[in-house]
Symmetry: D2
Subunit: 114 residues, 4 copies
């Protein structure tokens, strides 16, 4: 797989997401629980792109729904004062321990079935 070079969200984009919420005075609705519901709701709009046909999907719709999930994740990071890089690395530590290469390679089993 060839990966894109310009793959990281820019600081300006994060600022734009924050300003969007602030300008609309929507922080009052952004409780952690409401944001968790919102992430699930958007994740399912993304899933709907693959509901009946997993091969021929609408790429434009996928991009938009995935972006919605990402924006709500950013809202939750902000709401809880979390550092994305830190929590992802902490979780990757756990994932690497739960799925050792020797056991997990080429298998889709859950860690407790390996």
């Amino acid at each position: 797989m060839l990966y894109l070079q310009e793959e990281i969200m820019k600081k300006e984009t994060i600022e734009r997401i924050r300003k969007f919420t602030e300008d609309r005075d929507w922080d009052q609705f952004h409780s952690p629980a409401n944001l968790a519901k919102s992430i699930s709701i958007e994740a399912n709009e993304l899933l709907e792109c693959f509901q009946w046909d997993e091969e021929h999907f609408d790429r434009q719709a996928v991009q938009e729904e995935l972006a919605d999930v990402i924006v709500y994740c950013r809202n939750m990071l902000d709401k809880l004062g979390l550092d994305e890089d830190e929590i992802v690395n902490a979780k990757m530590d756990k994932n690497e321990a739960k799925y050792p290469v020797g056991k997990a390679k080429g298998k889709a089993d859950k860690y407790d079935k390996l």
Copy 2:
């Protein structure tokens, strides 16, 4: 709200996520549809942190489940060759048009009810 300064995921972290998948030969399981399911599944593990009590949640569990959602979003960006910054900005263009400040300020209504 005071935001964290070090909030952007580092390139090294993105490389770590990619290497995790490659080392385990898991790219074969990462169809866009499977990743969409995975984002929804992890979003609901996050939601479970707020199932019966929305105020007193386990912050550690929230961080881990949110990180899982973010990692699968990264997997999907990579799988589809999408630039996170680009798709988020394209969606923010739409969101800003759908929810004009004058109409949406302080209201949680959906755009078609504004």
Copy 3:
């Protein structure tokens, strides 16, 4: 497809579900919103049975997770004083109108794309 004859949930089973909640004094947690979250959470445990392999699933796990979804749906019907038969028929009226046989036959398109 051959359908089972004994397919309807018995009155005694509905009573059992209600008694389960009452005995544990759990009605206090069963707000409509909490039940909606619970239905989504259990639906995603069901979805997890098909996360990486849609053909070879654990039938026992599927039965249990599907039962969990059904039990929470029953809790919500009870909480809101809804008659299952009535709301399903009202929705089927709408579905039949939205997806006329002539247009929808053999197609998985959403009604607004037909």
Copy 4:
């Protein structure tokens, strides 16, 4: 709580759901995995009724989305040849054992935290 007397889905309604699918030749799309996705998608449309405000919800919308979840659950029962009454009772056996009244009464903790 006062419960409705006429609460069980009628055999005719189950037949109506089956005929709806058959008339449209949609059984081909109803793989167990696709139905699991559909249950999650509809569960999240239900959840959306409670996204920002858990108290003032649109009762009509809730009824319709709940009905959609129930219809897809019926589709899955039919697809897998499952008896609703049987799988619900089997799961209630487990739930009653996992949450003994003495330990669980008045508490919303998960069984492994009781």
